[in-house]
């Protein structure tokens, strides 16, 4: 029976192509939109994750307690070993070292004497490793105003406003003056590779971004890092995984008597993000429900239309003596098949689109008045497990419901009037 119906559906274009296409388009839209909403609702959280919290973050316990004061004297040491362990235990996560620091940036005149000087917030990230995705994560490329992203050690990015204030442009040397992890004075020259716009007034006033290895050398933090941030594949946060990983990791150190033992926190545990995260879940869930509902109505309608489309055919079949029940059951079976085919197709397309949007993101910076680092100007979708089945709700159930409703009409038809209706 199913085989027969399938053949019919495949061979008889007029009864299959349009409904399947409509179903597939509808399901594609639903799946994609749901994925998009899951991503878009979390943009504030995403911003936090990218700049501060990671999806999971490892610090020393005292660093955590004083983290507002950038306490690099309490930073993690021997991080290569730590990261190797982390990579072994949690291979799917990318681990990134970061150092936050503060100090003075000084620009010399032609005689090497101070020409401009100002306090700067510093951030060191992995700019050069091939495996690292920090440049994209920090949204550096679109935020560049002049120059380029550093390509070799000893190069730095500074904020655009700051570069004007201290009179240092791209290609100039500036000297960072700060204190090392141990409290000694740190001096380091950097070539300004580019200037960036952060989008936060405080950072635009004075900030410098350098490579992590440069920072380790400069701040006397050999194999050290203030924070190690962990990011899930494609930068999509999963709270269950994060909680699990943090628990597993922290369990290893629970009996450690080292004052500087590492501690891991999930994104949700940081910066008061828990409520925001829950809220984003609820909101995106709500939006997804709305889409599914709307699409169900649309496909329900498609089901209704499908019944109408074949009004004549059913008339002839009734006239030929087929029982009403048989036609009705066949209609439903066909609808189920069309729904499943359309839903599978639509889910594949929708998932593919959502996945593409998750991996590549959609850059809206061109539409934004001014690009900067702190604006969520790349929109990403998030492929969640529910996307794999969510399309079938409108695709199969709504479709079948529509067909079932329109099919009831069959029972109302009188054989006597059939031929008149059909005008054969």
């Amino acid at each position: 029976m199913i085989k027969f119906l399938l053949k019919g559906i495949i061979r008889d274009k007029s009864r299959s192509i349009l409904p399947i296409i409509i179903t597939a388009i509808g399901v594609t839209l639903t799946v994609f939109l749901s994925g998009y909403m899951r991503g878009a609702m979390g943009d504030m959280i995403d911003l936090n994750a990218r700049f501060e919290t990671g999806h999971i973050k490892v610090m020393t316990q005292p660093y955590l307690k004083n983290k507002d004061q950038l306490p690099n004297d309490l930073a993690l040491l021997e991080v290569s070993e730590l990261i190797a362990d982390l990579e072994k235990d949690f291979p799917e996560i990318s681990w990134e070292k970061r150092i936050r620091f503060g100090g003075l940036v000084d620009a010399p005149d032609e005689n090497g004497l101070t020409q401009g000087q100002g306090p700067a917030a510093g951030l060191a990230i992995d700019l050069f490793s091939k495996h690292s995705n920090e440049i994209g994560r920090m949204n550096l490329a679109p935020a560049i105003v002049n120059g380029t992203i550093p390509i070799r050690p000893g190069e730095a990015l500074i904020s655009e406003d700051f570069s004007q204030k201290i009179n240092a442009s791209v290609g100039d040397d500036v000297t960072f003056v700060g204190s090392t992890m141990n409290g000694s004075m740190a001096f380091q020259n950097f070539k300004v590779a580019g200037t960036v716009r952060f989008g936060s007034a405080a950072m635009d006033k004075g900030a410098i971004i350098i490579d992590i290895t440069d920072a380790q050398n400069m701040l006397d933090m050999e194999d050290g890092a203030g924070e190690i941030l962990g990011y899930f594949p494609n930068d999509v946060y999963d709270n269950n995984d994060a909680t699990q990983i943090a628990e597993t990791f922290n369990a290893k150190y629970i009996d450690s008597d080292d004052e500087f033992a590492p501690i891991m926190q999930s994104l949700k545990q940081q910066n008061g993000l828990a409520s925001l995260l829950d809220y984003a879940d609820v909101m995106s869930g709500m939006f997804v429900a709305i889409f599914v509902f709307a699409m169900s109505i649309v496909l329900w309608n498609t089901g209704l239309l499908g019944g109408l489309r074949r009004y004549q055919e059913y008339g002839i079949r009734l006239a030929l003596g087929e029982s009403k029940g048989h036609i009705y059951r066949m209609m439903i079976s066909e609808a189920v098949l069309i729904g499943i085919l359309g839903s599978i197709l639509g889910s594949i397309l929708g998932l593919a689109a959502a996945y593409a949007l998750q991996v590549y993101g959609f850059d809206i910076s061109e539409f934004a008045p001014q690009s900067n680092m702190l604006m969520p100007n790349v929109i990403r979708a998030k492929v969640t497990p529910d996307l794999f089945y969510i399309g079938f709700i409108p695709g199969v159930f709504a479709m079948v419901l529509g067909t079932a409703l329109s099919g009831i009409g069959i029972y109302k038809r009188e054989t006597a009037t059939l031929f008149k209706e059909l005008e054969v």
Binding site: V298, N301, L308, R309, F367, P376, N377
Partner: protein, 385 residues
């Protein structure tokens, strides 16, 4: 046209459930677009309102040497307040360090008028107290420093000559504000106290301007208008809108798909009708118009239906607000309230209306073009497949 409208209406209502499903989805889209944009507009409005109420007032008069974002300018960025008259409230900013439980936290010490009413800062709390140096802090600051109402904390500062001084201040109140920039790392004490502590008698770093103040050029002071101070806020919120656009365009596509599908079918099924219309002397253009008008009617019905449930719903939300969790979203510098009140402007409603009507009409027109290619004789026989 009148006839076309009437016919279209009858056709649609005659189709029963199918029509109402289409109309339902379209109305839903309509309401959702309104809701989302209203929410963002509401956020924008609230953020601005709060910034004005807590921080900006009707503008600020800032000493020419003071730059709120550059701590180096605090030292010299203040001047005598006697040159400025009118409804203004002076603020003197000084650097300080507090020592809660042996930790040290750098803070901005702000002297404010205790009797000011230009901002919502509850400066009145600084008046009714026996504390030697009463101080106000924000909730964020309270969380980060661990200071609670009634706590005393050691604060160290330098007077105008650079001499160190240190004493205890008493936290007499903790205010809750949606504006992060007036909270983080800041302590508010009566300006007279700060004058006394620093020797900067009658000095201020900036003024917050109240209603009715009219600025005339004053030497050493620069006036920043309210709108110039709100610029960055606007830019931030605009990008929020962009990401919402994608969402409702997709939702719109779903609704339009339904109309498109319906139109394709009705043109297929109603060939005889079309043939008859033409046979009766209607031009093809008129028939196309009839079908397009049907599609247009969808959007009209959708707007009516949307209004029936949308107006009360959106009105309710605009009145009662939508809870939004904010604890430390604060760090990003945009004021977010714990309740968001959507705002539905006339422009927004009209724009959305236009969008829905125009797109529904276009989508109905597209399949209807097929009519122009029909042979009326075949059509009337129903022979087109």
């Amino acid at each position: 046209m009148n006839q076309a409208l009437r016919l279209a209406y009858r056709n649609l209502v005659g189709a029963g459930l199918r029509t109402w499903l289409n109309v339902g989805v379209l109305s839903f889209t309509f309401v959702l677009i309104l809701f989302y944009n209203g929410l963002i507009d509401g956020w924008n409005k609230q953020a601005k309102r709060d910034s004005i109420a807590w921080e900006i007032g009707q503008g600020q008069i800032i000493h020419k040497d003071y730059d709120p974002l550059d701590p180096f300018t605090i030292l010299d960025g203040h001047g005598n307040i006697n040159t400025i008259k009118g409804n203004v409230s002076p603020v003197l900013v000084q650097q300080s360090t507090i020592y809660p439980e042996g930790r040290s936290i750098s803070t901005l010490l702000k002297g404010v008028s205790t009797n000011q009413s230009i901002t919502q800062l509850p400066t009145g709390l600084l008046l009714n107290t026996d504390a030697n140096i009463p101080a106000l802090i924000g909730k964020n600051m309270s969380n980060k420093s661990g200071l609670k109402e009634g706590d005393e904390v050691l604060i160290r500062w330098r007077d105008s000559e650079g001499t160190f001084d240190a004493t205890n201040i008493t936290i007499v109140g903790i205010f809750e504000s949606t504006v992060p920039t007036i909270d983080a790392g800041q302590i508010y004490i009566p300006i007279e106290k700060l004058w006394e502590l620093t020797g900067l008698e009658n000095h201020a770093s900036y003024f917050i301007v109240g209603e009715g103040y009219e600025h005339k050029e004053i030497q050493d002071w620069e006036f920043n208008s309210q709108s110039s101070l709100l610029e960055t806020l606007d830019a931030m919120i605009e990008t929020k809108k962009a990401s919402g656009t994608i969402m409702y365009l997709l939702l719109m596509a779903i609704a339009l798909l339904a109309i498109f599908d319906t139109q394709v079918l009705s043109i297929f099924r109603r060939q005889k009708e079309i043939g008859t219309y033409i046979a009766l002397g209607m031009t093809r253009g008129e028939v196309i118009r009839l079908f397009t008008v049907e599609g247009f009617m969808y959007s009209v019905l959708a707007v009516i239906l949307g209004s029936i449930y949308g107006i009360p719903l959106l009105w309710f939300l605009a009145k009662n607000g939508i809870p939004y969790p904010v604890e430390q979203v604060q760090d990003f510098g945009v004021p977010i309230s714990d309740t968001m009140y959507p705002v539905f402007s006339l422009g927004l409603i009209a724009g959305t209306l236009l969008l829905v009507v125009v797109s529904a009409t276009i989508v109905s027109y597209l399949p209807a073009r097929k009519i122009s290619k029909m042979n009326p004789v075949d059509a009337i026989k129903g022979k087109l497949q």
